[in-house]
Amino acid sequence: MIELRNVSKTYPNGTKGLNQINLTIGKGEFVVIVGLSGAGKSTMLRSINRLHEITDGEILIEGKSITKATGAGLRRIRRDIGMVFQSFNLVKRSSVMRNVLAGRVGYHSTLRTVLGLFPKEDINLALNALERVNILEKAYIRADQLSGGQQQRVAIARVLAQEAKIILADEPVASLDPLTTKQVMDDLKKINQELGITTIVNLHYIDLAREYATRIIGLRAGEVVFDGPVAEATDEVFAEIYGRPIKKDELLGEAAL
């Protein structure tokens, strides 16, 4: 369970990134956060694993405050939260396998990981993760040899190998074409349903949000303006979130779905 209590973020120049956000996200939910660029979607997502610091309020992960955690405690909480990024964030010069195993470093001693001595179970875990995203045959290929969609699937495998209980995906399909978009979103959905991993995704496309989410949260100028099940997220609601009628480029298109 993730709880945001009165979370605010004010930038040094006085801009409000997030304003008094209160949210509770339960185990196994598939939440999609929508909103215009600059509405605070990314800031909110990155606050959850503290890649961004908040200036006010508190965030609790499974009842533990990540806001107050430091050092090993903070790393321990982060270990349970996997993150998928728009730009994949793989080490391009390393092999796919090493990228996936990087997700395991939080479980072992520094010395062991630095020497690359991952136990057999970890190797199996990594291979299984790669199989789950249908990319097992690329295990020993350098990451920069893969296409964008394949790289994103490796990033998802890294999260799986991490045995995360929560997945945060920050615009995971923004740099992919419609077909790969569907594959990656299907992977995320499958993982969410089969493993019961709580998943929070920032998305730009409205139809994609409706297709995959169980719950939609709308952000506007750093505030939650909508929070409800997909059925309630009508076109009027989206117009409200965006502050204007929906435009065509906010739809991925029926063809892909």
Partner: protein
């Protein structure tokens, strides 16, 4: 006139003034002339010196080919000095590079002193370093190796931390998000992105060190340089020439191999 010229354009963009170029030329000329006056160097002196120069060259040829047998051990020593010095320097350079890169260490009071030390090292010429170490450790290879090692630290660490500062921050963010500690973060996020650059800089430094090692003997720090001093002192210019040719050949071969390797790396 300028407004509606013969070419029919209504507004011609203003031509940039050339005065800056003229001024630059005048200042450079003035500096060259001033330096010549201050150091008492004249073209006349150059011309009167020409025959002397020609005599030296005549004495250098033909090179004394037999002398090669005497200098091979010294040349090998020079190369060994360069290898040892570069290796020690390369190892010590790693922690320096890490604590100098602003995207790895966020504490200014670590970064700036570290960079200051690196800058300081690079301002000391390697011959001076060698002379200093000779004074401390006496004649021989050790001062030469130490001088090259110190010089290598300055160069490799500087180039490496600059390369480290341009790496993709994405994987670093990913490592933070998986709960890696600082060392794991560096080993998995930074090292794979910088390793090829680092090796390339080590090879490049090795090239420079071979050349530097060849003259370190002039101050008594071992290697082929000692023979330069000896043959020049005895006015045996044909032998000096052999050493020059030998050094040239060795440097060229090492440069060639190193350049090829570095091309493959990056």
């Amino acid at each position: 006139m300028n407004g509606t010229g013969t070419n029919g354009l209504s507004r011609l963009p203003k031509k940039p003034s050339r005065i800056k170029h003229y001024l630059t030329f005048i200042i450079v000329l003035w500096m060259v002339w001033g330096s010549a006056v201050q150091t008492d160097s004249t073209f006349k002196e150059l011309f009167t010196g020409l025959p002397e120069m020609w005599k030296l060259i005549e004495e250098m040829f033909p090179p004394n080919w037999q002398y090669f047998d005497n200098i091979v051990p010294a040349m090998l020593e020079t190369i060994r000095m360069a290898i040892a010095g570069t290796t020690f320097g390369a190892i010590i350079a790693i922690p320096f590079a890490v604590i100098s890169a602003s995207n790895i260490v966020k504490t200014p009071w670590i970064i700036y002193p570290a960079r200051f030390i690196l800058n300081l090292i690079r301002t000391i010429p390697d011959l001076l370093l060698a002379a200093l170490f000779v004074a401390i450790f006496g004649l021989g290879l050790v001062p030469g190796i130490l001088a090259l090692a110190v010089f290598s630290v300055g160069l490799i660490a500087k180039l490496t931390y600059e390369a480290a500062e341009t790496i993709d921050p994405g994987p670093l963010e990913a490592m933070t998000s998986v709960g890696a500690n600082k060392i794991q973060w560096i080993v998995f996020g930074v090292v794979p992105q910088v390793a090829a650059h680092y090796v390339s800089y080590v090879l490049y430094t090795f090239e420079i060190n071979v050349r530097a090692a060849a003259v370190l003997g002039l101050v008594g720090a071992g290697g082929i340089g000692l023979y330069y001093e000896k043959t020049l002192g005895f006015l045996e210019y044909d032998k000096t020439n052999s050493i020059i040719l030998f050094t040239l050949a060795v440097v060229l071969v090492i440069d060639f191999i190193s350049t090829k390797l570095r091309e493959k790396l990056l």
